[in-house]
């Protein structure tokens, strides 16, 4: 239902309707922000990027062909901008952040408590996945995108989407094992 009205909004935005842009922004900005934030791991950068994403939507609404849902189109734009921002970041800054996401908790003497709170451990490990794995996990589990939609957003074949999700889950199990939780797989 919402997908249809998103398309109506895009048609109005294409004709310069600022109010339609506000409605679309209100409807999607939180999810787009979270998607970007999970990739760039910096709130200020994520805020700057969503502003750029929606500005692109404003500028390119007339070119939207409806081959995918509006949310899929916006996440494609967001992903492109997030990865471009990551490429611009100094390498050492990225490494520090990635390490922080995993090691902060892994070295914690309280790690054994994670066994008592599997959910918390899972969230820590989800945060420790690589960018490539994080994005596919988020797109499938949080943004509820189909195989076909993930393929469009990430720009890979559908079969690769399935295998990438499989390896992301496998890596998640490995990280959990490092946290002392053996799920029996892989």
């Amino acid at each position: 239902m919402q997908t249809s009205s998103d398309e109506v909004l895009i048609a109005r935005i294409a004709s310069g309707d600022r109010l339609a842009m506000q409605v679309l922004y209100a409807r999607h900005h939180v999810r787009v922000y979270r998607f970007v934030l999970r990739l760039v791991r910096n709130e200020a950068t994520a805020e700057d990027l969503i502003s750029e994403v929606f500005l692109d939507v404003w500028r390119q609404a007339g070119k939207f062909e409806g081959r995918s849902a509006v949310s899929t189109w916006m996440l494609s734009i967001a992903r492109f901008k997030a990865l471009s921002a990551l490429r611009r970041k100094p390498e050492d800054e990225l490494d520090d952040e990635a390490a922080e996401a995993i090691e902060d908790h892994a070295d914690d003497p309280e790690v054994t408590l994670a066994k008592k709170d599997k959910g918390s451990a899972l969230r820590q490990c989800l945060a420790g996945l690589s960018v490539e794995h994080r994005e596919v996990v988020d797109l499938v589990y949080y943004h509820e995108k189909s195989v076909e939609e993930v393929a469009k957003i990430v720009g890979i074949p559908e079969a690769t989407v399935k295998t990438r999700m499989f390896y992301a889950r496998k890596r998640l199990s490995e990280l959990l094992k490092q946290h002392g939780i053996d799920r029996g797989w892989p």
């Binding site: 600022r18 500005l55 029996g184």
Partner: protein, 225 residues
């Protein structure tokens, strides 16, 4: 290969488990997965792990917060600084907006839309043609209260048919529910479909939408004016 050391999904069904948990599979695939889960306890156990991951991914994302008002202020400051659009102004009619969209279509999309439009026209030809024949063959005049074929009169929905729906499916759906396509395809493969010959109260139209939504032929449906 041991199931505890696998390097690839055991089956296509296993690879689909994350999408099944998220509810983003087609009905056909969802049914395949459901059937397999009933047959295979090990697969069902793995599915429980997927459900845990799903729950915690949602939890993690929901704790990320939301952007500050700064992001929106920055966006609309940039939009206000953009040059005015040359196309129709806000509030322009559907025709203008559709014209703007069709003008921006790629040749491939236009070809696709054209093919779908031909299908819709063929489907409508029988329905509307039959209706017109009935209305005009009974004596050469109509009363003011006779059902109107005016495309602007009635109760309407916007429909996108499911990608897997065949022309027979669409024909059956339109015929069984006494519907007619009055416009389309619009951007996104949407059609404006008349669901009643007279305007309906909003609640009644919502009920009709709810009922039609159950049909497998429907991809998306929403009430419209």
């Amino acid at each position: 290969m041991s199931r505890n050391t696998q390097d690839a999904p055991q089956s296509d069904i296993e690879a689909l488990l994350p999408w099944h948990a998220a509810g983003s599979l087609s009905r056909r695939d969802a049914q395949r997965v459901e059937d397999a889960l009933k047959r295979d306890p090990e697969l069902a156990r793995r599915y429980e792990r997927v459900r845990e991951e799903l729950a915690e991914t949602i939890h993690l994302n929901e704790t990320l917060g939301a952007p500050s008002a700064r992001a929106m202020e920055s966006l609309f400051a940039k939009i206000d600084a953009e040059p005015a659009r040359k196309t129709a102004t806000a509030g322009g009619g559907l025709g203008l907006r559709m014209a703007a969209f069709f003008a921006s279509f790629s040749p491939r999309t236009l070809a696709y839309a054209g093919a779908v439009a031909v299908l819709a026209i063929v489907l409508q030809a029988g329905l509307i043609g039959g209706l017109l024949f009935k209305e005009t063959s009974g004596g050469g005049y109509r009363t003011a209260s006779a059902p109107s074929t005016d495309p602007g009169v009635g109760a309407f929905t916007l429909i996108r048919f499911a990608p897997q729906a065949t022309s027979d499916d669409i024909n059956r759906f339109l015929s069984d529910n006494k519907l007619s396509i009055v416009a389309g395809p619009m951007p996104g493969g949407l059609y404006k479909v008349r669901v009643g010959m007279a305007a309906m109260p909003k609640a009644d139209l919502a009920e009709v939408v709810k009922k039609l939504q159950q049909d497998k032929t429907i991809g998306f449906i929403a009430a419209t004016q």
